[in-house]
Structure formats: structure tokens, C-alpha cells
């Protein structure tokens, strides 16, 4: 039975060698395929990592921006844009009726006109609709109606911190603020946020705290309304790490609006504006004089007569007409005394000190909208004397605050940053600007000024506030104007070991009956700072300490309240 087909199996057939060769060839190739198969599937399959990298490269989402506690400030959401192909719609009239029924803001007549245009294959129904609207239209079941997903950058916090966060254009490219930083100078930082194994991007964490930001915005806004100022701003800075916990500039803008309408008024006053800060700069002069050893706490300066340099006269706003000690010069904010102090140090050393603390250079942070200081062209005796009390040179308010923060932080100035950072990271970049002893003296002067000087209204019970006020006259048509003022306050708390520095600035505050006709800083910027500190100090975890005098004050206040 077996050999019926092959009668002579053992006999050699013609071409048997060829068949064997062919067989061998086939089995060789099959073996190779089998081996390769076994190799790729069993022995060394494509590693997980290689797979995910391939996926991640396809779509890298823009990082979200969150505050220091993880509250979302900017994020990407998918929004649907609805469109239709009129050629596929069976009943145009019915379709228009149904669609406008669900999307009331779509004009029925116009849509009908578009649908009836001959040969038209694509009509936008509505762009960037909410998920509810999308589903509602989709549920109508009209053939030819579909949607595409588009990405849109949204700012859930709205106006809050709009200057810091910035915004993007229609192609989600950063135009201003941190958004711009992520695409330009901070591209390396952005790249470090990508998590390839998850095909995702970690959020960019800012130093900002939205609670503090809101408290600051709220109080500055109230002050602007109350004092009819044209604008204002404020900064809260962590002295040790240089983190900007809050930064406000008003008027601000809505980053979610299509037309942001950003004019000159809406610019970031804290960074892209430069101002003559006036008397708050005296703190820098005092620190310099202490550091150079030309003054001690007991030094005295004659402030009886105006200081005459060439044909210019330097006078005091609150003239005391007597010999003043160093603490008195500080609390009375004497221009004469401070100018003499700077002249004692010397022009070169004065200039060198301002250079060292960075007031002569543009301060760079992550937010790109920053302005260069405006400096006098030539440094002479008069320039040095006026610069000592903040006249004749203009800097970014943030710059001024950073220097004062450095002076109060034991002389160690941290580089200001908008990104979250630890103390260790900050210390690497920090630079020593004055001696620890100088810092100690300055802390005493700042505290003294809040206890019995011009910053009294900022002294929140229990939080040991210290500060320096400044009221500068603005230059209007090339002259200093008595009616256009810039009121500012720079302070810190708690003064025994300062942790946060605060700056409040009001642009052209007007005098009010309840301020007895005054429009100087002590009547507007200082009380605003006090209100801000009262709100933010508990949020920032500052432990209040009550002295016996504080308790008396509280008791008195409570009594006054019950009487009413």
C-alpha cells in the first residue's frame, strides 16, 4: 500500500539533488524566520522605554502653570469646534432650525445663507464650544455635522496674577510673562518638566501663593479706589529664598479675553516700570554708611540748614532744624542728613556700592518684561547727594525691594525668582552685600520707624513690622510736580528675624479729608501695607508674639469697641 505511487522509491530519480537542495534552502529560510520571530518576541522584545519615547515624541503637551500649593493658574483644555458639510445635509432648513435651537448665539439667517452657497463643503458652526454644547449638537444626529478638537489655553484664576503668568497667542505660543519664559529663555526648564515614561509634562511650579496674591490685590485695589490713584502695585518677597510670593500691578487685564486691550496703564509697574523710589532708597544709603564705618548708631548730623551744593539746595520735607542722631535721621526721613552721610562715604564708594547691590543694572527674572534703570549720566557731588535719598535715579520697584530684603537678611541678598525654590538653591546664587552687623543695625532702624516713625500705621499688633516710607514727586513735563506723587512703602516682618519683605506703591494718590489733606506715603501706602500684613501674616505661618505693650493696646481697642 505504501509503495503504490512510487514503485521504485530507492531508485534514483532525475533531479533528486536539486529537490534536496531546494528543500534545504527552504528549511534554511524558514529556520531564519523562526529564529528572528523567537528573538523579537520571546528573547528580547522591544523594551517599554523605547516604545513610550516613540509615543512621547508625537505629542508633548505644554506644561500647566500652578502656584506653590498646586492651584492651577494656566492649563490646556480640549475644546470642540463644530463644523458642517452642507452637501451631506438632507434638509437644510430643518438643520438650521435645529442647530440654532441648541446654539442660540448662532445667527439663523447667516447660517442658512452659508449653507445655500453653491459648492460649499465646509462651514464653521461655532468655534471653541463647551462640551455640553458639543454633545447637544451631536445628539441632533444631523448628517454632515461634525467637530474637531482644538487645544485652548485657559487661565482659571482670571485676572489674578495675570502679569506674572502672562498669556499665549492663538497658536499657544507664549507672548508675555512666565508663558513666554517657557518658550524662550526657560526652554531648558520646560524640557526638564517632560516625563517621557508617561508621555506627559509636569506642571511649572511658581513661587506664587494665590491666597497672598489675592489679599495683596484686594487691598491695593481698595487703596486705589479710596485715594483715587491712577494705579498701584505691591510685592511680597520671601527674604531668604528670593521667591516672589505675590506680585500685583493694577490696573491689570484678563488673560482669557480675546482682546486683552493692554495699554500703557496695564503694563507691569513692578517690573517694566522704573520709578524714583524716593525716601525708601535712604535705607540703602544708611546700610552703605554703616558698612563703610562712617557712621554708628550714635553719630550726629547737622540738619539745621539746607545743604547747598553749587546752586542747588537740599531741604527736608519734615524740617526739624536741629542736630539729628542717626536713628532720628531715619525716622524723620531727613534728606539733609542722608545726603551728608552719602557725601561722607564718597562719590566713588557710593557708586560702587549701588553697583554691588545691583541697582545700576537691569534686574533679570523669569518674567521677560523688565526695564533698565534710568541713571544720571555723570556722578558728581550733587548727584551723589540726591541719589542718597532716591532722587535722580529710577529703578524697578522689585529691584529696590530685593536690595532692602538683602540688607535685612543678614546682608545676604537672594536673587528674586518667580519659580518655586528651596533655601539651599537660593543660597548658591545669593550674594553678600553688607556685613551681618550692618544688617542688625538696619533691622533696628526699620523696627524703630514702625514704632515711632512714619511707618507706624503698618505696625500690625504681634507681627513686629518694620519699614521705610517714601513719597517721591513725579516728573511732569520735565519738572518735579508737587501734586503728582508716588507713595511707596518697603517693609519686612517679623523684624527679629525677617522672613517676608513687602512693597506697596500707589501712583498719584490724592489727599482726602480723613488724611487731613496729606497724600504722603504714611497716610495711604503704609496703612495699606498694614492691612495686607494683617491678612497674609497668618497665612504665611508667622508666629505672633505679644508684648505687654501690645496687650495693653488690644485691651484699649476692645474697650473702645464696646463703648460704640
Amino acid at each position: 500500500m505504501t509503495d503504490t505511487h512510487l514503485p521504485n522509491a530507492t531508485a534514483k530519480l532525475p533531479g533528486q539533488h536539486r529537490i534536496r537542495l531546494l528543500g534545504l534552502g527552504f528549511s534554511g529560510v524558514f529556520l531564519a524566520i523562526a529564529l528572528k520571530l523567537a528573538f523579537t518576541s520571546v528573547i528580547a522584545p522591544l523594551s517599554e522605554e523605547a516604545k513610550t519615547i516613540a509615543e512621547a515624541v508625537q505629542r508633548i503637551p505644554r506644561p500647566d502653570i500652578v502656584d506653590r500649593n498646586g492651584n492651577v493658574l494656566a492649563t490646556d483644555v480640549a475644546v470642540a469646534s463644530l463644523y458642517a458639510d452642507p452637501r451631506k445635509i438632507l434638509d437644510l432648513e430643518e438643520a438650521v432650525e435645529l442647530i440654532t435651537g441648541v446654539l442660540p448665539d448662532v445667527d439663523a439667517k447667516e447660517l442658512d445663507k452659508k449653507f445655500r452657497q453653491p459648492g460649499r463643503a465646509f462651514v464653521w458652526l461655532k468655534r471653541q464650544v463647551s462640551p455640553e454644547e458639543r454633545d447637544a449638537v451631536f445628539d441632533l444626529g444631523i448628517p454632515g455635522v461634525a467637530y474637531v478638537n482644538e487645544r485652548k489655553r485657559v487661565y482659571p484664576q482670571g485676572r489674578l496674577a495675570a502679569h506674572t503668568v502672562g498669556y499665549v497667542d492663538v497658536d499657544t505660543k507664549g507672548i508675555a510673562g512666565i508663558e513666554r519664559y517657557l518658550d524662550t529663555e526657560g526652554a531648558m526648564y520646560t524640557a526638564s518638566l517632560i516625563e517621557p515614561e508617561r508621555g506627559n509634562t509636569a506642571p511649572a511650579e511658581l513661587a506664587l501663593d494665590i491666597r497672598v496674591q489675592h489679599a495683596l490685590t484686594d487691598e491695593v485695589q481698595q487703596a486705589i479706589t479710596k485715594f483715587k490713584a491712577i494705579g498701584g502695585g505691591g510685592i511680597v518677597l520671601n527674604i531668604e529664598t528670593g521667591e516672589i510670593v505675590a506680585l500685583v500691578s493694577l490696573p491689570d487685564f484678563n488673560p482669557n479675553a480675546e482682546d486683552k486691550n493692554i495699554g500703557k496703564d496695564q503694563q507691569n509697574r513692578m517690573l517694566s516700570g522704573v520709578y524714583e523710589l524716593g525716601s525708601v532708597v535712604k535705607a540703602v544709603t544708611f546700610a552703605m554708611a554703616f558698612d563703610n564705618g562712617t557712621i554708628t548708631m550714635n553719630s550726629k548730623y547737622d540738619a539745621r540748614y539746607a545743604l547747598v551744593i553749587g546752586n542747588a539746595r537740599i531741604n527736608d520735607f519734615h524740617a526739624q532744624r536741629r542736630v539729628l542722631t542717626v536713628p532720628e535721621i531715619f525716622t524723620n526721613s531727613s534728606n539733609i542728613g542722608t545726603a551728608k552721610m552719602a557725601l561722607d562715604v564718597g562719590i566713588e564708594k557710593h557708586q560702587a556700592f549701588l553697583e554691588k547691590v545691583g541697582l545700576l543694572d537691569k534686574l533679570l527674572t523669569e518674567v521677560p518684561e523688565t526695564a533698565r534703570p534710568i541713571l544720571p549720566k555723570k556722578w558728581g557731588r550733587l548727584v551723589s547727594a540726591t541719589a542718597a535719598f532716591g532722587h535722580g535715579f529710577a529703578v524697578q520697584p522689585l529691584q529696590g525691594l530685593a536690595v532692602v530684603a538683602g540688607i535685612l537678611n543678614g546682608g545676604k541678598m537672594a536673587q528674586p525668582t518667580f519659580l518655586k525654590r528651596s533655601k539651599e538653591e537660593a543660597d548658591v546664587l545669593a550674594k553678600d552685600i553688607v556685613k551681618a552687623k550692618t544688617s542688625q543695625y538696619m533691622r533696628e532702624l526699620f523696627r524703630l520707624n514702625a514704632l515711632e516713625g512714619s511707618a507706624g500705621k503698618a505696625d500690625v499688633i504681634g507681627y513686629r513690622v518694620g519699614g521705610k516710607t517714601g513719597t517721591a514727586e513725579k516728573v511732569v513735563r520735565g519738572r518735579y510736580s508737587k501734586d503728582h506723587r508716588l507713595a511707596s512703602f518697603i517693609g519686612a516682618f517679623p523684624m527679629d528675624k525677617p522672613q517676608y519683605a513687602i512693597l506697596i506703591m500707589l501712583d498719584e494718590p490724592k489727599p482726602l479729608p480723613e488724611t487731613y489733606g496729606f497724600a504722603t506715603s504714611g497716610w495711604n501706602a503704609v496703612p495699606t501695607a498694614g492691612k495686607v500684613i494683617a491678612r497674609i501674616a497668618p497665612l504665611l505661618g508667622i508666629e505672633p508674639v505679644l508684648t505687654a505693650a501690645d496687650r495693653e493696646k488690644i485691651a484699649k481697642l476692645a474697650k473702645a469697641k464696646t463703648k460704640i
Partner: protein, 116 residues
């Protein structure tokens, strides 16, 4: 002999073929499942993002302040409301003295007795 071998081989071809077919079918099913699941994950992630944005918008401090002033009688904490442990330790003796005057009350215990 050869016929048996051939028969077995044919059978094996059929069996392995059907196994292969079944496996391929299953793989396709699984692939489809992966695709739909990935799409679902993507959709859910989008939803999460949207909800996060919404949450952030609803919890913005400005709105919370508005709601708080309208519905709650609360104010920022003042320094006088804080105290330190040292200050407390000075008053412990005072409080203890008061506690010894009254016999300790057990409100929950009494409630349970009533229930029994």
C-alpha cells in the same frame, strides 16, 4: 506509513492553523480593546483637566471671599487669637483646680445609660 505521517501532518496543519486563527482573532480583539481604552483614557484625562480648571476657577480666592462675606461670619485670624505653649503651661494649674471642684461629668455615658 507515509500516509499516516501525512495524515498526522495534515491534521497538525489544520489544528495549528485554527489555533493561529483563533489567536489572531483574539489579538485583534485585544488590540481593539487597547485602542478603545486608550481613547477612553485620553477622554478621561481631558475631562480631568477640564474639571481641574473648573475647580480652580470655582475656588479662586476672589470668589471664596465673596461667598465667605455673604454666608459666614468669619474674619482673618488676629495675633490676639494665638497663644504659646509656655503661656498655656502657666494656666494648667488654674484649670486643674477648677476641674477638681466639680465632679467629672460623663455626658455620653449618661446618654448610654438612658438608652438602656
Amino acid at each position: 506509513m507515509l500516509k499516516i505521517v501525512n495524515g498526522v501532518l495534515v491534521l497538525m496543519v489544520l489544528v495549528s492553523g485554527s489555533i493561529l486563527y483563533a489567536m489572531e482573532h483574539k489579538t485583534r480583539g485585544l488590540e481593539r480593546e487597547i485602542r478603545t481604552t486608550t481613547a477612553e483614557i485620553d477622554a478621561l484625562e481631558e475631562d480631568i483637566k477640564l474639571l481641574n480648571a473648573e475647580w480652580s476657577s470655582l475656588t479662586r480666592p476672589e470668589r471664596i471671599q465673596l461667598l465667605a462675606t455673604r454666608h459666614l461670619q468669619m474674619a482673618p485670624a488676629e495675633a490676639r487669637q494665638f497663644t504659646s505653649l509656655e503661656e498655656l503651661s502657666a494656666r494648667i494649674a488654674e484649670v486643674r483646680g477648677k476641674m477638681q471642684e466639680k465632679p467629672p461629668t460623663d455626658a455620653i455615658g449618661e446618654l448610654m445609660k438612658k438608652m438602656q
